[in-house]
Symmetry: C2
Subunit: 295 residues, 2 copies
């Protein structure tokens, strides 16, 4: 990981760490919130927000609440995905899942609290950055759409109930693309778009960056599918082999096919931002980091 990424990741960890130390939540809720906020993630999505925002001249201190909010939304979705009623996972980020440690009720309430708090941070970041081209409502709505009933939550619902998505049609690449463009892609795109909007980006480069983020998000998900069959819990910090009952890119295309597909998606993402020149260097590096996860 380059110095840039290490430094941005540290800034995000730091911001979330401070937040974890001062939730003001009552005792039963404080401990699970702290854990969810402070447990070390890769922070890819938050770094994406910072990298895009900085590439158009935004300042990292002012972008940080937005980057943190994206990571909180992601953390919230992980806590929910891991629940007994969903993936029933044991391990996350190298520790017992939140519901195993604090109970299902507090895990659910923590997940909802994280998402909720994130909206305050997006609004704060917008007020701090005050971008002329992008009103606060538009930025918020981007996040709402990415999370909501045609976003991450929709992807998760279809992932859990693929049969009922198209009636009884057989599962296929379309369904898989529907699931992952929402479950993973939507928040990648929103992370990038919010960073750009807060940096007062022009509409044309924003479109390129959205294509970049969409392809990178899908590539990232596919590398996750590959790691689920090729890696170990000790390395990943989360359960592996959980995808057995699920349709995945690996099942459709095999490990090598999935690897190849993720490389192609990374190439597409790089092509999209080629015209953006030197300012997009951190985005290029981020894309290569994703590709190299399964090399």
């Amino acid at each position: 990981m380059s110095d840039y990424f290490a430094s941005r990741r540290a800034s995000i960890d730091d911001y979330l760490g401070h937040l974890a130390g001062a939730t003001g939540a009552p005792r039963p809720l404080d401990a699970p919130l702290r854990r969810a906020l402070a447990s070390a993630g890769k922070r890819v999505r938050g770094i994406l927000t910072l990298a895009v925002g900085e590439s158009v001249g935004g300042r990292v201190e002012k972008l940080l609440p937005a980057a943190a909010s994206i990571e909180m939304i992601h953390a919230s979705s992980l806590v929910l995905d891991d629940l007994p009623a969903m993936d029933d996972a044991l391990l996350r980020r190298g520790a017992p899942t939140l519901h195993r440690e604090f109970g299902e009720d507090l895990a659910i309430l923590s997940a909802v609290a994280l998402l909720n708090h994130a909206y305050g941070l997006v609004a704060k970041a917008h007020a701090d950055c005050a971008p002329r081209r992008w009103p606060m409502q538009q930025v918020l709505q981007r996040v709402v759409d990415a999370v909501g009933w045609d976003g991450t939550i929709a992807g998760e619902a279809v992932d859990l109930h693929p049969d009922s998505y198209k009636g009884n049609a057989p599962l296929d690449f379309d369904t898989l693309e529907f699931i992952h463009s929402r479950k993973t892609g939507a928040l990648f795109v929103a992370a990038a778009a919010v960073g750009g909007m807060l940096g007062n980006i022009h509409p044309a480069p924003l479109q390129r960056i959205e294509v970049f983020a969409k392809n990178l998000g899908l590539a990232f998900q596919i590398t996750d599918d590959v790691l689920d069959v090729t890696s170990k819990p000790e390395v990943l910090g989360k359960d592996v082999g959980k995808d057995e009952q699920r349709l995945t890119f690996v099942k459709l295309a095999g490990v090598d096919g999935a690897r190849k597909l993720s490389e192609e998606l990374v190439e597409t993402s790089l092509t999209a931002i080629e015209p953006l020149g030197a300012a997009a260097k951190p985005l290029r590096e981020l894309a290569l980091l994703v590709r190299d996860r399964v090399r």
Copy 2:
């Protein structure tokens, strides 16, 4: 119920009904979302938003997205409260609870989706009303705080784990007040405050209205506690007797004591808005409706 309330309730139902018919959510998620949006509630909180906003000159069409958002946040909290990991309730608004009808996973995802979507509606309402005195960030933060880790969610967490709230201190009136000022009171106050802010209210009357809403919310909760022991599921449309394992105002003060307490709180709420004159007439009527629930 007066014509004013019936008409405002119908407007909110109408708004949510349209939303339910066009979620754009994929099949597995669409049905539970429709049910949660369209099931008939009393809409007290949304009416409060409209009544306060209108009392300072706001127009109902422009206030409606905010009133709907408050009702969606409330609906979201009911779905979560009813889950097996929380109250494990069978009946809500005269129908099986969402998790019983659609499964726990889709109930949880629907609840999160409702809260999430509400934030887009608050932002939209603010953009429509464009109040000069109250920036969008401030209005959003009010909602975030009311829901979040010192709001509704905090109240629910302590309600589920009262023993761990103050260590091992005995349960008392303070704890009960902590729970209900957050679990019910916070959203009542935010509903009123958001209506006022969108109507561009002055800070001084807003303070009065917040005192009104705080006391009314607590009175409403106490009447709920009373109805839980004196009413039937067929009448209430939800489980009764669920409070048996819980600390309630009825347990602390008896049915008559709780009734008396709620009347006192309604009096306090009326005193707070006395100086607001004729414009606050719907608020007075609303307070009397709450009082008369258990008369």
